[in-house]
Subunit: 311 residues, 2 copies
């Protein structure tokens, strides 16, 4: 009994270390991705770096790295770093634009003033545009610096342009904006979750897999994994907004209620939402366990970690 | 004498026809680039299509097509169309974001209400983001639909991500925003022109050349051509704002003066500005004539056309 407990503890500790190490590697790569000696207006660089280096869980880039490791082993992780940075740039730009007065009009994000509160609206718009554009530059570096085959890099760029665009994340954002005037069905809410959050997570998994030369079967399993944890992630966000700890979350809870936003718990209740999170996480893991992968362990751990997170 | 006049007239007519035909082809390709049956929120699609299909001179896409023709002959033009559409998407998104209240706060563009006046600020921001993202999807189609080699397509994507980004167009926009608080030198003004307008024109030339498999020497000549006509184009814009015909321009003149914007004529006067336009145009043509190209005629004609335009 003691042995089992200890093993479990070590496993947990080891995963915590893995996350700390991965986050540090991502932070370093992100900081290096906009060199200080590149010629551009200083205020634009500051706007870009302010939000890109504002911390955060770095879930998406770590999923890219973990997917590459799952398919090709740990030695493939460095080759996946440019794509990991790219997805964090896309995520960051979407937050900057989403926080603008014309959109959600938020003053704080992760306990810090939002980009436009510090750099002004114009520089927030331009900083976001520049990060979005720079994401594609990053993906190309997977070929330039790590010799990922050009046809894989091109496929990654194509998928990014779809999953981050009008048929993907931006479409989800737009549906969310429109939905603020009234979502009437769970299907509408699922559309928003699927695209606003889910598509970038699916991209992260597939792109990480592609860097490591994944087969179509492996890509499909990674996509299913991403789709299910992406939805679970968003439902968890809704649940945490209702019953989470403000200190840990770094933001006010009950904000969805205050803004009369409909959420998963709104439609099916908190308990059923939690059951749904567990079901989705189980399905995600099953998809991964159902194919032959070199080292899927980190992905499995990440799925459990996301399900149990409190912020 | 009569013969020479007649030949000149025919040449002019033929170029006018070329422009009409090229514009029509670009319009058709742009309209097809966001299919009506793609799943996305209708209001987002409308925002994107509203600005993308709002007319305009289509100079940048035509420069892409003309550069491909210059290097590889007329049969290379269809392969260049996806990149031509991409650059117009980038140009269009930059106008949408530039017109926003937080930026230039313009109500009209080309005689039509600006995007945010029709679709609201949120959908204008998202429509712009979606067009920027979709531009990269378009470039990939040069490989998918026209078998442009993947290494050329990847190089085009890399150059687009630089020339449209923080070190390129967005950097120029940012410098322009900051400059509204006071530009003190011609060098600052040149930086803005070089990046805000020049970089996309340089991209158009190089990318069109790449589609046709241009050599490094040819790419350098195309770049010089683009750099010089890009700067001439912008000075011409400044001059037209001072002495142009409001009817033809489709916008009020003297707007730079009204906004106390410094311009080329402000620094060196109208006459010297016109001499500068002619000098730049001559240098552009000399760069093209200095290398071996299959059919450079359209580029030469385009340089003259841009110099003589009245809108």
């Amino acid at each position: 009994m003691r042995g089992i407990l200890l093993a479990k503890l070590n496993e947990t500790e080891e995963f915590t270390e893995y996350m700390t190490r991965s986050r540090a590697a991502v932070e370093e790569a992100l900081s290096g991705s906009i060199p200080l000696d590149w010629e551009m207006p200083a205020s634009l660089r500051e706007s870009m770096r302010y939000s890109l280096l504002a911390g955060g869980k770095r879930i998406r880039p770590i999923l890219v790295l973990a997917a590459a490791e799952a398919v090709g082993g740990a030695e493939l992780v460095p080759s996946a770093m440019p794509v990991a940075c790219a997805i964090e740039m896309i995520h960051t730009y979407s937050l900057i634009h989403d926080d603008l007065p014309a959109m959600d009009n938020d003053d704080y994000r992760r306990g810090k003033l939002t980009n436009h509160k510090v750099h002004g609206e114009a520089m927030a718009i331009l900083g976001g545009d520049a990060l979005l554009t720079h994401a594609f530059h990053q993906v190309v570096q997977a070929s330039r610096k790590h010799r990922v085959p050009t046809d894989q890099v091109l496929a990654i760029i194509e998928e990014l342009s779809v999953l981050a665009g009008a048929r993907g994340m931006v479409g989800g954002q737009a549906a969310d904006m429109i939905g603020e005037q009234g979502i009437t069905s769970l299907e509408q809410l699922q559309y928003i979750h699927l695209h606003k959050t889910g598509d970038l997570i699916v991209f992260s998994l597939r792109a990480g897999g592609r860097v490591a030369g994944a087969s179509e079967e492996q890509l499909t399993a990674l996509e299913t994994f991403g789709r299910q944890i992406g939805l679970a992630f968003q439902i968890q966000d809704d649940v945490l907004d209702l019953i989470g700890d403000e200190q840990k979350l770094g933001k006010k809870t009950q904000s969805d209620v205050a803004q009369s936003k409909v959420t998963y718990p709104y439609f099916i209740g908190i308990e059923a939402s939690q059951v749904e999170i567990e079901r989705l996480t189980r399905e995600a893991k099953e998809a991964i366990e159902g194919v032959n992968l070199a080292s899927p362990q980190r992905l499995i751990e990440l799925a459990d970690y996301l399900m149990k997170r409190d912020h």
